[in-house]
Protein backbone atom coordinates (compact mmCIF):
# COMPACT_ATOMS: atom_id res chain seq x y z
CA UNK A 1 0.00 0.00 0.00
CA UNK A 2 1.46 3.35 -1.04
CA UNK A 3 0.64 6.31 1.15
CA UNK A 4 -1.61 8.95 -0.37
CA UNK A 5 -1.43 11.19 2.63
CA UNK A 6 1.39 11.40 5.11
CA UNK A 7 1.24 13.60 8.13
CA UNK A 8 4.15 14.17 10.46
CA UNK A 9 4.48 16.36 13.51
CA UNK A 10 1.43 18.38 12.60
CA UNK A 11 0.80 21.27 14.94
CA UNK A 12 -2.00 23.79 14.71
CA UNK A 13 -3.31 26.71 16.71
CA UNK A 14 -6.16 29.17 16.96
CA UNK A 15 -4.70 32.55 17.75
CA UNK A 16 -2.33 31.96 20.60
CA UNK A 17 -3.86 28.65 21.67
CA UNK A 18 -2.20 25.56 20.31
CA UNK A 19 -4.61 22.72 19.76
CA UNK A 20 -2.63 20.08 17.89
CA UNK A 21 0.72 19.07 19.30
CA UNK A 22 2.29 16.88 16.68
CA UNK A 23 -0.17 14.60 14.91
CA UNK A 24 1.32 11.76 12.99
CA UNK A 25 -0.34 9.27 10.67
CA UNK A 26 -0.52 8.14 7.09
CA UNK A 27 -3.35 7.14 4.85
CA UNK A 28 -2.98 4.66 2.07
CA UNK A 29 -4.23 4.86 -1.49
CA UNK A 30 -7.86 3.61 -1.67
CA UNK A 31 -8.02 3.19 2.06
CA UNK A 32 -10.29 4.57 4.74
CA UNK A 33 -9.02 5.73 8.10
CA UNK A 34 -11.36 6.47 10.96
CA UNK A 35 -10.44 9.11 13.51
CA UNK A 36 -11.91 8.80 16.96
CA UNK A 37 -11.60 11.12 19.89
CA UNK A 38 -13.44 12.87 22.65
CA UNK A 39 -15.12 16.20 22.43
CA UNK A 40 -12.53 18.90 21.79
CA UNK A 41 -9.73 16.44 21.17
CA UNK A 42 -8.75 18.10 17.94
CA UNK A 43 -10.32 15.92 15.25
CA UNK A 44 -11.94 18.81 13.44
CA UNK A 45 -8.79 20.82 13.79
CA UNK A 46 -6.80 18.00 12.21
CA UNK A 47 -9.03 18.03 9.16
CA UNK A 48 -8.88 21.80 9.04
CA UNK A 49 -5.11 21.69 9.25
CA UNK A 50 -4.95 19.30 6.31
CA UNK A 51 -6.90 21.82 4.27
CA UNK A 52 -4.92 24.81 5.37
CA UNK A 53 -7.85 26.34 7.25
CA UNK A 54 -5.91 26.99 10.44
CA UNK A 55 -2.38 28.09 11.12
CA UNK A 56 -0.27 24.96 10.94
CA UNK A 57 3.30 23.79 11.25
CA UNK A 58 4.69 20.41 10.37
CA UNK A 59 4.69 18.14 7.41
CA UNK A 60 1.78 17.13 5.22
CA UNK A 61 2.34 15.22 2.00
CA UNK A 62 -0.40 14.45 -0.41
CA UNK A 63 0.40 12.15 -3.35
CA UNK A 64 4.03 12.98 -2.81
CA UNK A 65 3.61 16.78 -2.75
CA UNK A 66 4.08 18.98 0.28
CA UNK A 67 0.80 20.71 0.92
CA UNK A 68 1.40 22.19 4.36
CA UNK A 69 1.12 25.95 4.18
CA UNK A 70 -0.67 25.93 0.85
CA UNK A 71 -3.88 27.77 0.36
CA UNK A 72 -7.12 25.92 0.99
CA UNK A 73 -8.37 26.43 -2.55
CA UNK A 74 -5.20 25.01 -4.04
CA UNK A 75 -5.42 21.99 -1.79
CA UNK A 76 -9.01 21.46 -2.87
CA UNK A 77 -7.95 21.65 -6.47
CA UNK A 78 -5.49 18.83 -5.87
CA UNK A 79 -8.49 16.63 -5.25
CA UNK A 80 -9.11 16.85 -1.54
CA UNK A 81 -12.76 17.34 -0.69
CA UNK A 82 -13.97 18.23 2.76
CA UNK A 83 -17.30 17.75 4.45
CA UNK A 84 -16.76 20.41 7.04
CA UNK A 85 -17.84 20.61 10.61
CA UNK A 86 -21.06 22.60 10.65
CA UNK A 87 -21.86 21.68 7.04
CA UNK A 88 -20.67 24.88 5.40
CA UNK A 89 -23.85 25.32 3.40
CA UNK A 90 -24.05 28.30 1.05
CA UNK A 91 -27.17 29.39 2.84
CA UNK A 92 -28.52 31.83 0.30
CA UNK A 93 -27.93 29.78 -2.81
CA UNK A 94 -30.20 27.01 -4.01
CA UNK A 95 -29.56 23.37 -3.37
CA UNK A 96 -28.54 22.85 -6.96
CA UNK A 97 -26.23 25.83 -6.98
CA UNK A 98 -24.57 24.37 -3.92
CA UNK A 99 -23.99 21.15 -5.80
CA UNK A 100 -22.68 22.91 -8.88
CA UNK A 101 -20.25 24.83 -6.71
CA UNK A 102 -18.94 21.56 -5.37
CA UNK A 103 -17.76 20.80 -8.88
CA UNK A 104 -16.34 24.27 -9.43
CA UNK A 105 -12.81 22.99 -9.86
CA UNK A 106 -13.82 20.43 -12.46
CA UNK A 107 -13.76 21.02 -16.16
CA UNK A 108 -15.91 18.32 -17.73
CA UNK A 109 -19.39 19.84 -17.87
CA UNK A 110 -21.10 16.67 -18.92
CA UNK A 111 -19.61 14.58 -16.15
CA UNK A 112 -20.63 17.24 -13.66
CA UNK A 113 -24.20 17.17 -14.86
CA UNK A 114 -24.14 13.39 -14.53
CA UNK A 115 -22.82 13.65 -11.01
CA UNK A 116 -25.54 16.08 -10.00
CA UNK A 117 -28.05 13.48 -11.03
CA UNK A 118 -26.10 10.85 -9.15
CA UNK A 119 -26.32 12.89 -5.96
CA UNK A 120 -30.04 13.26 -6.47
CA UNK A 121 -30.22 9.50 -6.79
CA UNK A 122 -28.32 9.07 -3.55
CA UNK A 123 -30.49 11.58 -1.74
CA UNK A 124 -33.86 11.99 -3.45
CA UNK A 125 -34.80 14.57 -0.85
CA UNK A 126 -32.29 16.95 -2.37
CA UNK A 127 -33.88 16.61 -5.76
CA UNK A 128 -37.22 17.63 -4.34
CA UNK A 129 -35.53 20.68 -2.88
CA UNK A 130 -33.30 21.55 -5.82
CA UNK A 131 -34.60 25.09 -6.28
CA UNK A 132 -35.02 25.79 -2.61
CA UNK A 133 -32.73 28.17 -0.77
CA UNK A 134 -30.32 25.80 0.92
CA UNK A 135 -30.40 27.64 4.22
CA UNK A 136 -34.02 26.65 4.69
CA UNK A 137 -33.34 22.94 4.43
CA UNK A 138 -33.65 20.90 7.59
CA UNK A 139 -30.51 20.03 9.46
CA UNK A 140 -30.32 16.53 8.07
CA UNK A 141 -31.07 17.69 4.54
CA UNK A 142 -28.20 20.16 4.78
CA UNK A 143 -25.95 17.40 5.94
CA UNK A 144 -26.86 15.34 2.88
CA UNK A 145 -26.08 18.39 0.82
CA UNK A 146 -22.71 18.82 2.49
CA UNK A 147 -21.70 15.26 1.70
CA UNK A 148 -22.98 15.52 -1.85
CA UNK A 149 -21.21 18.80 -2.41
CA UNK A 150 -17.94 17.25 -1.37
CA UNK A 151 -18.51 14.26 -3.63
CA UNK A 152 -19.17 16.63 -6.53
CA UNK A 153 -15.48 17.47 -6.54
CA UNK A 154 -14.77 13.88 -7.63
CA UNK A 155 -11.96 13.87 -5.10
CA UNK A 156 -9.02 11.57 -4.63
CA UNK A 157 -9.24 12.07 -0.90
CA UNK A 158 -12.37 12.77 1.03
CA UNK A 159 -12.21 14.33 4.47
CA UNK A 160 -15.41 13.66 6.36
CA UNK A 161 -16.11 15.53 9.59
CA UNK A 162 -18.97 13.68 11.23
CA UNK A 163 -20.86 12.92 8.03
CA UNK A 164 -23.71 11.28 9.92
CA UNK A 165 -24.32 14.40 11.99
CA UNK A 166 -28.06 14.89 12.33
CA UNK A 167 -28.99 12.18 9.84
CA UNK A 168 -31.79 9.75 10.45
CA UNK A 169 -30.69 6.17 11.20
CA UNK A 170 -31.78 4.88 7.82
CA UNK A 171 -29.93 7.62 6.00
CA UNK A 172 -26.82 7.00 8.05
CA UNK A 173 -26.84 3.42 6.97
CA UNK A 174 -27.37 4.43 3.35
CA UNK A 175 -24.62 6.99 3.60
CA UNK A 176 -22.11 4.46 4.82
CA UNK A 177 -23.18 2.17 2.00
CA UNK A 178 -22.57 4.96 -0.48
CA UNK A 179 -19.17 5.73 0.97
CA UNK A 180 -18.22 2.10 0.84
CA UNK A 181 -19.32 1.87 -2.78
CA UNK A 182 -17.48 4.98 -3.79
CA UNK A 183 -14.35 3.75 -2.10
CA UNK A 184 -14.64 0.40 -3.77
CA UNK A 185 -15.56 1.65 -7.23
CA UNK A 186 -13.59 4.87 -7.60
CA UNK A 187 -10.87 4.15 -5.10
CA UNK A 188 -11.43 7.38 -3.22
CA UNK A 189 -9.48 7.45 0.03
CA UNK A 190 -11.24 8.75 3.07
CA UNK A 191 -10.36 10.22 6.40
CA UNK A 192 -13.41 9.79 8.53
CA UNK A 193 -14.11 11.59 11.76
CA UNK A 194 -17.20 9.96 13.15
CA UNK A 195 -18.93 9.74 16.48
CA UNK A 196 -20.73 6.59 15.50
CA UNK A 197 -17.56 4.62 16.13
CA UNK A 198 -19.09 1.23 15.52
CA UNK A 199 -20.08 2.07 11.98
CA UNK A 200 -16.90 3.98 11.34
CA UNK A 201 -14.74 1.05 12.36
CA UNK A 202 -16.92 -1.18 10.27
CA UNK A 203 -16.23 0.92 7.20
CA UNK A 204 -12.61 1.81 7.82
CA UNK A 205 -9.56 -0.32 7.41
CA UNK A 206 -7.42 1.78 9.68
CA UNK A 207 -8.18 3.94 12.68
CA UNK A 208 -6.62 6.18 15.21
CA UNK A 209 -7.65 7.89 18.41
CA UNK A 210 -6.78 11.50 19.13
CA UNK A 211 -6.58 12.88 22.61
CA UNK A 212 -5.81 16.52 23.33
CA UNK A 213 -4.08 17.04 20.05
CA UNK A 214 -2.02 13.86 19.87
CA UNK A 215 -2.55 10.47 18.31
CA UNK A 216 -2.64 8.07 21.22
CA UNK A 217 -3.69 4.84 19.55
CA UNK A 218 -3.35 3.85 15.92
CA UNK A 219 -3.75 0.62 14.07
CA UNK A 220 -6.03 -1.33 11.85
CA UNK A 221 -9.72 -0.99 12.44
CA UNK A 222 -9.87 -4.55 13.64
CA UNK A 223 -7.18 -3.92 16.22
CA UNK A 224 -8.95 -0.90 17.57
CA UNK A 225 -12.22 -2.72 17.82
CA UNK A 226 -10.49 -5.09 20.18
CA UNK A 227 -8.87 -2.37 22.27
CA UNK A 228 -10.46 -2.14 25.69
CA UNK A 229 -10.20 1.60 26.10
CA UNK A 230 -11.71 2.19 22.69
CA UNK A 231 -14.48 -0.22 23.41
CA UNK A 232 -15.40 1.43 26.64
CA UNK A 233 -15.33 5.01 25.41
CA UNK A 234 -16.48 4.71 21.84
CA UNK A 235 -18.27 1.45 21.35
CA UNK A 236 -19.94 0.90 24.66
CA UNK A 237 -19.33 -2.79 25.18
Amino acid sequence: MTALLEVADLRASYGATRVLHGIEFSLGERSITAVLGANGAGKTTTLRALCGMVRTEGEIRFAGQRIAGRRTEDIARLGIAHVPDGRGTFLYLTTEENLRLGAYARKDKRAVARDVERMYAYFPRLKERRRQQAGTLSGGEQQMLAVSRALMLAPKLLLLDEPSFGLAPLVVRELFGILRAINAESGVSMLLVEQNAAMALELADHACVIETGRVVIAGTAAELKRDDGVRRAYLGY
Binding site: H82, L93, L101, Y104, G135
Partner: protein, 288 residues
Protein backbone atom coordinates in the same frame (compact mmCIF):
# COMPACT_ATOMS: atom_id res chain seq x y z
CA UNK B 1 -49.63 67.58 -19.39
CA UNK B 2 -46.59 68.32 -21.47
CA UNK B 3 -44.91 69.65 -18.36
CA UNK B 4 -45.42 66.30 -16.69
CA UNK B 5 -44.05 64.44 -19.68
CA UNK B 6 -41.03 66.71 -19.78
CA UNK B 7 -40.33 66.14 -16.11
CA UNK B 8 -40.74 62.40 -16.50
CA UNK B 9 -38.28 62.29 -19.37
CA UNK B 10 -35.80 64.50 -17.56
CA UNK B 11 -36.28 62.22 -14.56
CA UNK B 12 -35.50 59.20 -16.69
CA UNK B 13 -32.33 60.87 -17.86
CA UNK B 14 -31.14 61.65 -14.33
CA UNK B 15 -32.47 58.30 -13.16
CA UNK B 16 -30.22 56.69 -15.74
CA UNK B 17 -27.30 58.38 -14.03
CA UNK B 18 -28.28 56.93 -10.69
CA UNK B 19 -28.91 53.56 -12.26
CA UNK B 20 -25.49 53.36 -13.84
CA UNK B 21 -23.70 53.90 -10.55
CA UNK B 22 -26.20 51.70 -8.74
CA UNK B 23 -25.16 48.88 -11.06
CA UNK B 24 -21.60 49.26 -9.88
CA UNK B 25 -22.85 49.06 -6.30
CA UNK B 26 -24.78 45.88 -7.06
CA UNK B 27 -21.71 44.45 -8.70
CA UNK B 28 -19.50 45.07 -5.69
CA UNK B 29 -22.20 43.88 -3.34
CA UNK B 30 -22.53 40.59 -5.15
CA UNK B 31 -18.80 40.13 -4.98
CA UNK B 32 -18.15 41.24 -1.41
CA UNK B 33 -21.48 41.67 0.37
CA UNK B 34 -20.50 45.22 1.13
CA UNK B 35 -21.41 48.52 -0.39
CA UNK B 36 -18.34 50.42 -1.39
CA UNK B 37 -18.80 54.04 -0.49
CA UNK B 38 -15.77 54.94 -2.56
CA UNK B 39 -17.40 53.57 -5.70
CA UNK B 40 -18.47 57.00 -6.85
CA UNK B 41 -15.04 58.51 -6.35
CA UNK B 42 -13.45 55.62 -8.19
CA UNK B 43 -15.77 56.30 -11.08
CA UNK B 44 -14.91 59.98 -10.95
CA UNK B 45 -11.22 59.21 -11.01
CA UNK B 46 -11.62 56.87 -13.95
CA UNK B 47 -13.47 59.59 -15.78
CA UNK B 48 -10.55 61.92 -15.26
CA UNK B 49 -8.34 59.29 -16.79
CA UNK B 50 -10.63 59.14 -19.79
CA UNK B 51 -10.64 62.91 -19.96
CA UNK B 52 -6.84 63.00 -19.92
CA UNK B 53 -6.72 60.41 -22.67
CA UNK B 54 -9.19 62.29 -24.83
CA UNK B 55 -7.28 65.49 -24.21
CA UNK B 56 -4.09 63.77 -25.23
CA UNK B 57 -5.67 63.10 -28.58
CA UNK B 58 -6.90 59.55 -28.18
CA UNK B 59 -10.20 58.99 -29.96
CA UNK B 60 -13.33 58.67 -27.86
CA UNK B 61 -14.01 54.97 -28.18
CA UNK B 62 -10.39 53.88 -27.80
CA UNK B 63 -10.19 56.12 -24.76
CA UNK B 64 -13.43 54.62 -23.48
CA UNK B 65 -12.19 51.07 -23.79
CA UNK B 66 -8.80 51.93 -22.43
CA UNK B 67 -10.38 53.62 -19.44
CA UNK B 68 -12.60 50.65 -18.70
CA UNK B 69 -9.52 48.49 -18.83
CA UNK B 70 -7.46 50.79 -16.65
CA UNK B 71 -10.32 51.08 -14.20
CA UNK B 72 -10.54 47.31 -14.04
CA UNK B 73 -6.86 47.02 -13.30
CA UNK B 74 -6.98 49.81 -10.74
CA UNK B 75 -9.97 48.18 -9.09
CA UNK B 76 -8.07 44.93 -8.81
CA UNK B 77 -5.06 46.77 -7.47
CA UNK B 78 -7.06 48.65 -4.88
CA UNK B 79 -8.53 45.39 -3.65
CA UNK B 80 -5.16 43.73 -3.50
CA UNK B 81 -3.33 46.60 -1.87
CA UNK B 82 -5.86 48.50 0.20
CA UNK B 83 -8.65 46.09 1.03
CA UNK B 84 -6.75 42.84 1.38
CA UNK B 85 -5.18 43.76 4.72
CA UNK B 86 -8.59 44.24 6.30
CA UNK B 87 -10.12 41.12 4.82
CA UNK B 88 -10.75 39.68 8.25
CA UNK B 89 -11.58 42.89 10.03
CA UNK B 90 -15.12 43.61 11.20
CA UNK B 91 -17.47 44.87 8.52
CA UNK B 92 -17.61 48.37 9.88
CA UNK B 93 -13.84 48.63 9.91
CA UNK B 94 -13.88 47.84 6.21
CA UNK B 95 -16.53 50.49 5.72
CA UNK B 96 -14.19 52.97 7.37
CA UNK B 97 -11.48 51.96 4.94
CA UNK B 98 -13.94 52.71 2.14
CA UNK B 99 -14.48 56.13 3.62
CA UNK B 100 -10.74 56.63 3.78
CA UNK B 101 -10.49 55.65 0.16
CA UNK B 102 -13.29 58.03 -0.72
CA UNK B 103 -11.63 61.05 0.83
CA UNK B 104 -8.25 60.15 -0.60
CA UNK B 105 -9.52 59.82 -4.15
CA UNK B 106 -11.58 62.97 -3.89
CA UNK B 107 -8.74 64.98 -2.48
CA UNK B 108 -6.10 63.67 -4.84
CA UNK B 109 -8.31 64.28 -7.85
CA UNK B 110 -8.77 67.87 -6.71
CA UNK B 111 -5.06 68.22 -6.29
CA UNK B 112 -4.16 66.83 -9.69
CA UNK B 113 -7.02 68.09 -11.79
CA UNK B 114 -8.16 71.12 -9.72
CA UNK B 115 -11.74 71.87 -8.91
CA UNK B 116 -12.76 73.76 -12.02
CA UNK B 117 -15.36 71.88 -13.97
CA UNK B 118 -14.40 70.18 -17.20
CA UNK B 119 -16.65 69.32 -20.07
CA UNK B 120 -16.52 65.75 -21.21
CA UNK B 121 -17.35 64.69 -24.74
CA UNK B 122 -20.34 62.60 -25.68
CA UNK B 123 -19.93 59.91 -28.33
CA UNK B 124 -23.50 59.71 -29.44
CA UNK B 125 -24.64 60.98 -32.84
CA UNK B 126 -27.34 63.64 -32.89
CA UNK B 127 -29.64 61.17 -34.60
CA UNK B 128 -30.05 59.40 -31.27
CA UNK B 129 -31.86 62.35 -29.75
CA UNK B 130 -35.60 62.21 -29.42
CA UNK B 131 -37.93 65.09 -29.01
CA UNK B 132 -37.27 65.97 -25.41
CA UNK B 133 -34.08 64.13 -24.70
CA UNK B 134 -30.61 64.93 -25.89
CA UNK B 135 -28.69 62.30 -27.84
CA UNK B 136 -26.41 61.81 -24.91
CA UNK B 137 -29.23 61.21 -22.46
CA UNK B 138 -30.70 58.56 -24.73
CA UNK B 139 -27.31 57.04 -25.40
CA UNK B 140 -26.40 56.92 -21.73
CA UNK B 141 -29.65 55.13 -20.95
CA UNK B 142 -28.91 52.59 -23.67
CA UNK B 143 -25.42 52.02 -22.36
CA UNK B 144 -26.84 51.51 -18.88
CA UNK B 145 -29.22 48.90 -20.23
CA UNK B 146 -26.37 47.13 -22.00
CA UNK B 147 -24.33 47.03 -18.81
CA UNK B 148 -27.39 45.72 -17.03
CA UNK B 149 -27.79 42.93 -19.55
CA UNK B 150 -24.14 41.97 -19.26
CA UNK B 151 -24.27 41.87 -15.49
CA UNK B 152 -27.45 39.86 -15.52
CA UNK B 153 -25.98 37.29 -17.86
CA UNK B 154 -22.79 37.19 -15.89
CA UNK B 155 -24.40 36.43 -12.58
CA UNK B 156 -27.12 34.24 -13.93
CA UNK B 157 -25.34 32.00 -16.33
CA UNK B 158 -21.62 31.89 -15.80
CA UNK B 159 -19.91 29.63 -13.26
CA UNK B 160 -17.71 32.59 -12.44
CA UNK B 161 -20.74 34.64 -11.49
CA UNK B 162 -21.96 31.86 -9.23
CA UNK B 163 -18.52 31.42 -7.69
CA UNK B 164 -18.35 35.13 -7.03
CA UNK B 165 -21.64 35.15 -5.19
CA UNK B 166 -20.56 32.09 -3.25
CA UNK B 167 -17.25 33.66 -2.28
CA UNK B 168 -19.02 36.72 -0.94
CA UNK B 169 -21.43 34.64 1.14
CA UNK B 170 -19.22 31.99 2.56
CA UNK B 171 -15.54 32.36 1.87
CA UNK B 172 -14.59 29.34 3.96
CA UNK B 173 -16.79 26.91 2.10
CA UNK B 174 -15.84 28.55 -1.17
CA UNK B 175 -12.20 27.77 -0.55
CA UNK B 176 -13.12 24.20 0.25
CA UNK B 177 -14.61 23.73 -3.18
CA UNK B 178 -11.57 25.28 -4.81
CA UNK B 179 -12.77 28.81 -5.45
CA UNK B 180 -9.91 31.28 -5.31
CA UNK B 181 -11.69 33.64 -3.00
CA UNK B 182 -8.98 36.27 -3.09
CA UNK B 183 -9.22 36.41 -6.83
CA UNK B 184 -12.97 36.56 -6.78
CA UNK B 185 -12.84 39.60 -4.55
CA UNK B 186 -10.23 41.26 -6.70
CA UNK B 187 -12.19 40.41 -9.82
CA UNK B 188 -15.33 41.78 -8.23
CA UNK B 189 -13.57 45.02 -7.46
CA UNK B 190 -12.19 45.18 -10.95
CA UNK B 191 -15.56 44.62 -12.56
CA UNK B 192 -17.26 47.08 -10.24
CA UNK B 193 -14.61 49.65 -11.03
CA UNK B 194 -15.09 49.02 -14.74
CA UNK B 195 -18.86 49.38 -14.45
CA UNK B 196 -18.27 52.51 -12.40
CA UNK B 197 -15.96 53.90 -15.06
CA UNK B 198 -18.66 53.44 -17.68
CA UNK B 199 -21.07 55.19 -15.36
CA UNK B 200 -18.65 58.05 -14.85
CA UNK B 201 -18.11 58.53 -18.57
CA UNK B 202 -21.83 58.51 -19.18
CA UNK B 203 -22.52 60.89 -16.32
CA UNK B 204 -19.75 63.42 -16.93
CA UNK B 205 -21.16 64.94 -20.13
CA UNK B 206 -24.39 65.63 -18.27
CA UNK B 207 -23.23 66.96 -14.94
CA UNK B 208 -19.68 68.06 -15.91
CA UNK B 209 -16.56 66.56 -14.58
CA UNK B 210 -15.25 67.75 -11.25
CA UNK B 211 -13.87 65.98 -8.19
CA UNK B 212 -17.21 66.16 -6.42
CA UNK B 213 -19.12 64.95 -9.45
CA UNK B 214 -20.09 61.65 -7.90
CA UNK B 215 -20.43 62.47 -4.20
CA UNK B 216 -23.98 63.68 -4.62
CA UNK B 217 -24.87 60.90 -7.02
CA UNK B 218 -23.66 58.17 -4.70
CA UNK B 219 -26.51 58.81 -2.30
CA UNK B 220 -29.08 58.48 -5.05
CA UNK B 221 -27.38 55.39 -6.40
CA UNK B 222 -27.32 53.84 -2.95
CA UNK B 223 -31.01 54.53 -2.50
CA UNK B 224 -31.76 53.25 -5.98
CA UNK B 225 -29.81 50.04 -5.51
CA UNK B 226 -31.59 49.25 -2.27
CA UNK B 227 -34.98 50.23 -3.58
CA UNK B 228 -34.50 47.76 -6.40
CA UNK B 229 -32.96 45.14 -4.14
CA UNK B 230 -29.23 45.24 -3.57
CA UNK B 231 -28.53 41.91 -5.23
CA UNK B 232 -30.54 42.59 -8.36
CA UNK B 233 -29.00 44.44 -11.33
CA UNK B 234 -32.42 44.88 -12.88
CA UNK B 235 -33.67 46.25 -9.62
CA UNK B 236 -30.86 48.78 -9.54
CA UNK B 237 -31.88 50.17 -12.90
CA UNK B 238 -35.56 50.23 -12.08
CA UNK B 239 -34.72 51.78 -8.73
CA UNK B 240 -32.58 54.44 -10.38
CA UNK B 241 -35.24 55.40 -12.86
CA UNK B 242 -37.94 55.45 -10.21
CA UNK B 243 -35.86 57.68 -7.97
CA UNK B 244 -35.09 60.05 -10.84
CA UNK B 245 -38.67 60.40 -11.97
CA UNK B 246 -40.09 60.49 -8.48
CA UNK B 247 -37.78 63.26 -7.45
CA UNK B 248 -38.59 65.39 -10.47
CA UNK B 249 -42.32 64.99 -10.11
CA UNK B 250 -42.19 65.74 -6.41
CA UNK B 251 -40.04 68.79 -7.00
CA UNK B 252 -42.06 70.18 -9.86
CA UNK B 253 -45.61 69.42 -8.83
CA UNK B 254 -45.97 68.24 -5.29
CA UNK B 255 -43.69 69.47 -2.61
CA UNK B 256 -41.25 71.84 -4.24
CA UNK B 257 -37.54 71.62 -4.75
CA UNK B 258 -36.53 72.32 -1.19
CA UNK B 259 -37.94 69.17 0.30
CA UNK B 260 -38.22 66.88 -2.69
CA UNK B 261 -35.23 64.78 -1.68
CA UNK B 262 -36.53 64.43 1.84
CA UNK B 263 -39.91 63.28 0.67
CA UNK B 264 -38.40 60.98 -1.93
CA UNK B 265 -36.28 59.33 0.72
CA UNK B 266 -39.22 58.97 3.04
CA UNK B 267 -41.14 57.26 0.26
CA UNK B 268 -38.23 54.95 -0.53
CA UNK B 269 -37.80 53.97 3.09
CA UNK B 270 -41.56 53.52 3.24
CA UNK B 271 -41.43 51.08 0.36
CA UNK B 272 -38.62 49.21 2.07
CA UNK B 273 -40.68 48.89 5.22
CA UNK B 274 -43.24 47.00 3.18
CA UNK B 275 -40.70 45.12 1.11
CA UNK B 276 -37.61 44.89 3.29
CA UNK B 277 -35.46 43.63 0.46
CA UNK B 278 -36.52 46.03 -2.23
CA UNK B 279 -38.53 45.51 -5.41
CA UNK B 280 -36.53 42.63 -6.80
CA UNK B 281 -34.06 41.69 -4.12
CA UNK B 282 -34.09 38.05 -3.13
CA UNK B 283 -35.52 37.40 0.28
CA UNK B 284 -32.86 35.64 2.29
CA UNK B 285 -34.49 33.48 4.87
CA UNK B 286 -32.42 32.31 7.73
CA UNK B 287 -33.76 29.66 10.04
CA UNK B 288 -32.78 27.95 13.22
Amino acid sequence: MEAVLLQVLAGLATGGIYASLALALVMIYQATHLVNFAQGEMAMFATYIAWSLVNAGVGYWPAFLLTVLIAFVLGVLIERVVIRPVENAPVLAVVVVFIGLLVILNSVAGWIFTYTIKSFPSPFPPALGIRYMSPHQVGALLVTLIVLALLYLFFRFTPLGLAMRAAAQNPVSSRLVGIRVGWMLALGWGLAAAVGAVAGMMVAPIVYLDPNMMSGILLYAFAAALLGGIDSPGGAVVGGLVVGVLENLLGAFVIGNELKLVVALVLIVGVLLVRPSGFFGSVQVSRV
